[in-house]
Amino acid sequence: MKAAAAGLAAVVRPPLVAIAGNPNTGKTTLFNRLTKSDRKVANYPGVTVDRHEGKLTLPGGRLIAILDVPGTYSLSARSREEEIAIQSIAGLDGEHVPDLVVLVVDATQLSRNLYMALQILELEVPLVVALNMTDVLAARSEFIDTAVLSRELGVPVVPISALKGRGLDGLERAIELALASPASVRPGPRWIPDTADLREDVDIVVDALPPDWVRGSTSRARALAAWALLSVDDPDELASVPDSVRRVALARRTIAQSDGRQIDAEIIRGRYGWIDARMRSFMPPSTRGLGVSERVDTVLLNPWLGFAVFLFTMSVVFMALFSWSEPGIRAIEVGFGWLTDLVRGVLSPSIARDFVTDALIAGLGSVVVFLPQILLLFFFIGLLEDTGYMARVACIMDRLMRAMGLSGRAFVPMLSGYACAVPAILATRTMERQRDRTLTMMVVPLMTCSARLPVYTLVIAALFPPTMLFGFAPVQSLLLVAMYLFSTLLALVVAAVLSRTMLKARSVPLILELPPYRMPHWPSVVRQMLQKARAFLTEAGSVILVCTIILWGLLSFPKDGAVEARKQVIATEIAALESGSDVDSPAAQAQIEGLHAEAGDLAGESLRSSYAGTLGRAIEPTIEPLGFDWKIGIGLIGAFAAREVFVATMGVVYGIGDADEESATLRDRIRAETRANGEPVYTPLVGLSLMVFFALACQCMSTLAAVRRETKSWGWVVFLFVYMTALAWIASFVVYQGGRLLGFE
């Protein structure tokens, strides 16, 4: 049965066409042009690299699956991420051998792009070359004789413009023909090792190859042997190379070295030698002046003007996340508020109703509320990547970010962290190395995100006087600025420390291509944006939803029957009074006000006796040295849902119902709160300690959910939570106890 089912699956599986090519060749644009339906994003096993697959119906009616192989300059690899290219094209490590590879070649950088074509031909995988950017070439009055190129390579060469959508019919027909007679587009290697020494190296490695690498093809075996000689290193991160192959490849390299030979250079030079000997036959040399992009870069990479443009661009991105997302966020909040009211109107008060409104709807709301920022950030990232400006950002920011052990590409995620850590963490995928991504994810949550602002606003307004320092500097604003500087400084310090300890890695030399500036392909930008949003909703969203439900349980149980009964009575009485005819009379108003006050007190009472209340009391000894009492402890627990929830939770704890950071009642209540000995709970020093705690503590389950999604590991999630909370505790302790030693209250 099983075998039959597997056989059936093999019959049903449509032919797999892999689209490969160098980065910045318009590979993804072509993929998006070809696959209009049934596209899915998965993950390559073991690495956080998206695996994009889609379907296309060819003109003749045949359905094919198209795989977008991550862009690489060559098939040789050192890291796990680079290894994906060889796995996808040679069909190693669980990947299918593609039935056809479409190599996207940038016509403006022909010889470099042909290098990879030779590698694929050596592997004996059927190949069609899609010669992209032919329109750019024509505009420069240069041309490529595709007939000659096709003859030399032994495979079809189809001129296209992926950006403008030209030549795609021809490409689809070429794919169709190639699939019909694969042998005709599998002409075998163009370049073969051309010295006796190199042939010997290759043959000895061939003998060590496992059968599933060889698959009965000598040419394929030689190609994979050459690949291993070029790729295997001590150490490397390659996962698909068997130990036998690794040992032999390393040994041959050592022997060659002792003979004064460099295998790497011999192979690479051999392939380029083949290309260079034929270049003139299909592409006449030209004497081209400076390209447009190069002239644009004299401005955009200029120390003064270029830096100004950079600051402006980054300000726009930041403003978008910080301010432009606001209407969307508010609309979502209003929408979910409306939904809550709707449910409250339909269902009678009960635990089930509370569950629906306060756990389910609130949980969904707290997931969806991230969408405006995620969409905006990925819109801009798509734009920056597609136009080629992202490489310039990496260029300009490299020196600064390197000092912290990060790559220049970490800048945009770090900047986004000031708006919200969640989209910023999702944006770390723009970096190539997993280690760089992890390091960035570990520090981004320290940035002062917008959810901390309500807490700072409440504390500053309640506890610090609106006076001027030295007669001109407003104390309250200065404090807010200080909190931003503090968090930035700490993020930089933590990055510097982690990059020298836990995430210590050999610094990898930077090789950064500056691609020509191009118009973005809008559908691709929009598509990436939607994909990110969907991935967040499904993967991080479920974790956030579960956490919200658990938190709701902690804050709502156990229920006291008498209190609940009294709450119901009050609700009924208020409803009766409000629908009564003399609702506007002073007596009725006073009565309603009294009932509301009592309801507030009861809600506070429920919260204080809930599991969260018990937990707040339980953690009091640990937060007492920071100047916090158990009621603040409850607020800290509630804030785990999202930092700004702290404000509303404190409102309930103090029995004044729903409150926001502008609430004068809450401010007064905070100022009036006293300890058992009559001293005020909240002093400016406690306020400062509280703000420092919020600046550093990982009070955000959504951040943790996003880190879980991006690292695929709970280990980093635990580490992030523990180190940030520990850091917060220590810093608050130093502020509070240090302040007291210095005589502050």
Partner: protein, 76 residues
Amino acid sequence: MKRTTDIRPGDRARLVQVGGERSFRRRLMELGFLPGTTIRLVRRVAVGDLVEFEVRGGHISLRASEATALLFENDR
């Protein structure tokens, strides 16, 4: 023998030797930085402390400190 610091922006030079660690060397060679190839130094990017080269039609930036692994001679 010249280092990148000896080449004026806009000038061409012939690459003689690629040093540095193996994976860096290999990737550079695959991008066209093969000894014997004529390469143009496009500019130095002061803000990021990088050097931009043009090789085989592509523009590649390296850190100034890491580009010291490249040795050149005058283009003939």
